[in-house]
């Protein structure tokens, strides 16, 4: 079943074009990795999918689970099943993590015309999730991401992913700032999410997360469009050779062939 269809997407920020004709399709249950040099548009893609108001779509379309995402507010996209794990999760002092999670979960359930969980049921569920991600339950009492280390923030993002049960996880450099153990814990969480038949769009700079979350497809983003697609071996090639060889290949290859691997 087709989960996400991005077609010829053009996006700009403050009149500066960032995405220039990006196309990508993924089916439910697939893991796609997006790699690419700094400034290629990876985080822009994540933010656009989640509905950040600072990005202007000037062309193309995004369809999610058969419906157009264009014009939907971020919360409507969340209710539809899109989840973005932030590269830099924000601190919200004064609001405890537990209160925030409860409010988000209640909102999700209300959107599906479901009753909220009782406080007791909810706390039990969240504590179990926290434990599975090696997050001390003390973190639930603290302000949202307040004073959290980089690794704790990322684990908190995965906790939200597992709690809110979306259909698509867009992970924006979730592996950055993680030590080896934390990387494994986070990867385990992502794999649990994936095992339920959900889609994962994993944005990363490095191959190391892909050792734990094995992608079905790897795409290379450069200058705001996907310039190469392949299987997991492409990530290994990038790790070994960097991105320069792709640029050289592109200069030698007609555009029609370059785009053929992008859609599946």
């Amino acid at each position: 079943m087709r989960l996400l269809d991005i077609d010829d997407l053009h996006v700009r920020v403050d009149d500066k074009p960032i995405l220039n004709g990006l196309s990508l399709s993924m089916n439910a249950g697939e893991v796609h990795a997006i790699m690419g040099p700094n400034g290629s548009g990876k985080s822009t893609l994540a933010n656009v999918l989640a509905g950040h108001p600072g990005y202007e779509i000037i062309g193309g379309s995004i369809r999610f689970a058969g419906a157009d995402l264009d014009g939907l507010a971020p919360e409507e996209r969340a209710h539809a099943g899109v989840f973005m794990a932030f590269q830099h999760p924000v601190e919200i002092p004064g609001v405890t993590n537990m209160e925030f999670l409860k409010a988000a979960n209640d909102s999700r359930l209300a959107a599906r015309n479901l009753e909220p969980l009782s406080a007791l049921e909810f706390m039990k569920k969240v504590r179990n999730l926290a434990q599975s991600l090696d997050l001390d339950s003390e973190f639930l009492k603290r302000g949202v991401n307040e004073g959290f280390s980089g690794g704790e923030r990322k684990r908190n993002e995965i906790l939200q992913l597992l709690l809110l049960e979306p259909k698509l996880a867009v992970l924006d450099e979730t592996d950055s700032g993680l030590d080896i153990d934390a990387l494994r814990t986070v990867a385990d969480g992502v794999n649990r999410f994936h095992a339920d038949g959900n889609g994962v769009l994993l944005i990363t700079h490095y191959q190391r997360l892909l050792n734990h979350v094995v992608p079905d497809h790897v795409h290379v983003l450069a200058d705001g469009r996907i310039v190469e697609s392949g299987d997991g071996s492409l990530a290994h090639a990038l790790e070994e050779r960097g991105y320069a060889w792709l640029r050289e290949d592109r200069e030698d290859t007609p555009p029609a062939r370059r785009s053929s691997g992008m859609r599946n």
């Binding site: 989640a50 509905g51 950040h52 108001p53 600072g54 507010a73 971020p74 919360e75 996209r77 969340a78 209710h79 989840f83 973005m84 932030f86 999760p89 924000v90 601190e91 919200i92 002092p93 004064g94 609001v95 405890t96 537990m98 209160e99 925030f100 999670l101 409860k102 409010a103 988000a104 209640d106 909102s107 999700r108 959107a111 406080a119 909810f122 706390m123 339950s137 639930l140 009492k141 302000g143 939200q160 809110l164």
Partner: protein, 378 residues
């Protein structure tokens, strides 16, 4: 300036030259500076037209506490009003029908609940004796014209928790709380206030004794057409004194919210450790916020920090909450309450939080269910 000759002679427990000194101070530069964002003339007119209140401010008197009229004392304790800085204190004391001394010689088993009635309340000295511990609460919910002067004298080793909540929006109010702390005395101060037709709150803490300390927090919310002006002074006079002051205010609509916080480190007050922070959130372009933190340091070997910010709701935080499925209006509300909750502390916190939630929601009853203080707390 208003003619003060009509005030007559001050009561016998007040210094005879109180009115003259008040008059001189009202015409001086200091009053003009500290009353930059509130009209001193209007406040004075407001006070002079209000009735005096003679009733004792403390109805329930626990064991170990006594309440005495100042006029009944052969040698009443000095009010130490610092009239040169607070001329309205002199005027208020002159207008009041009575003054009171609340003597705390033990550690009461329940809070002292001070009443602040509509009108000019009797100046009150609250003396907490050596080593005693007391919890004071002023849940001042009344509207109308109200003025009060409280003087706290905390003896060595005493511990005082003082919580004030001024929440009535139909009030025109001025108060002064002066606190003087002796050696190792501790004051925990929680001052929360909503905006009103006019609300001007002065607080002056003097850490006189070695090792005396004060922790002060306060939250404020100011709505359309409302006025809230807080002036906070912390003087470090003794050695190794410690203070923390943290206030958050939120202003919406065409409102005015002002804060002036001053830390004053005296000569010889070595080892002082002071920090003052005031953050403000403007919800509307028409909201006026004035904030000015000040430091005056006259000795070395101190640690001092101060800061003030004025900002709007962080769009990144808003997006973060929305991306988790919270509609924009709920996300905004969560950010507002979170901002205030950082400073809503002390025994009256629940009452204040509920009042602030009701204000944010326009009195919508669903407010408390989803947020700080709601059922999700672990």
């Amino acid at each position: 300036m208003i003619d003060l000759d009509t005030l007559g002679n001050p009561p016998n427990w007040l210094a005879a030259d109180t009115i003259e000194r008040s008059r001189a101070a009202l015409e001086g530069g200091l009053a003009r500076e500290t009353w930059k964002y509130s009209s001193l003339t209007k406040t004075l007119r407001m006070l002079i037209g209000a009735p005096g209140v003679s009733r004792a401010p403390l109805a329930d008197v626990p064991e170990g506490v006594s309440v005495t009229r100042l006029s009944a004392l052969a040698t009443p304790p000095a009010l130490t009003l610092d009239i040169e800085r607070y001329p309205l204190a002199g005027i208020t004391a002159s207008l009041a029908a009575e003054g009171w001394l609340i003597d705390v010689k033990g550690s009461p088993d329940r809070p002292l609940v001070l009443d602040c009635e509509t009108g000019i309340n009797a100046p009150t000295i609250l003396r907490v004796h050596r080593g005693c511990r007391v919890d004071i609460r002023e849940p001042g919910a009344r509207g109308g014209v109200r003025a009060s002067v409280r003087v706290l004298q905390a003896d060595a080793g005493s511990t005082v928790c003082w919580a004030q909540a001024e929440l009535a929006d139909d009030a025109e109010q001025w108060w002064l709380l002066k606190a003087q702390l002796k050696d190792n005395a501790s004051l925990e101060l929680h001052q929360h206030a909503a905006g009103a037709r006019f609300r001007r709150l002065d607080t002056h803490v003097t850490l006189q004794g070695t090792g005396s300390n004060c922790l002060a927090t306060g939250a404020g919310i100011v709505g359309p057409g409302e006025h809230l002006d807080r002036q906070q002074v912390v003087e470090h006079a003794g050695r190794n004194t410690f203070s923390r002051t943290k206030l958050h205010n939120l202003a919406g609509g065409r409102s005015r919210c002002s804060f002036n916080g001053r830390i004053h480190i005296h000569p010889g007050a070595s080892g002082a450790d002071a920090d003052l922070s005031n953050k403000n959130l403007a919800l509307d372009i028409e909201a006026e916020i004035n904030t000015k933190p000040e430091l005056e340091i006259y000795t070395d070997d101190v640690r001092c920090a101060h800061g003030a910010t004025v900002g709007q709701i962080d769009p990144n935080a808003l997006f973060y909450l929305q991306s988790r499925g919270l509609p924009e209006h709920r996300a905004r509300r969560i950010l507002c309450i979170g901002f205030l909750t950082e400073c809503i502390r002390g025994p009256l916190a629940d009452k204040v939080l509920n009042a602030f939630l009701a204000r944010l929601d326009g009195a919508a009853p669903s407010a408390a269910a989803e947020l700080p203080g709601g059922s999700a707390q672990s």
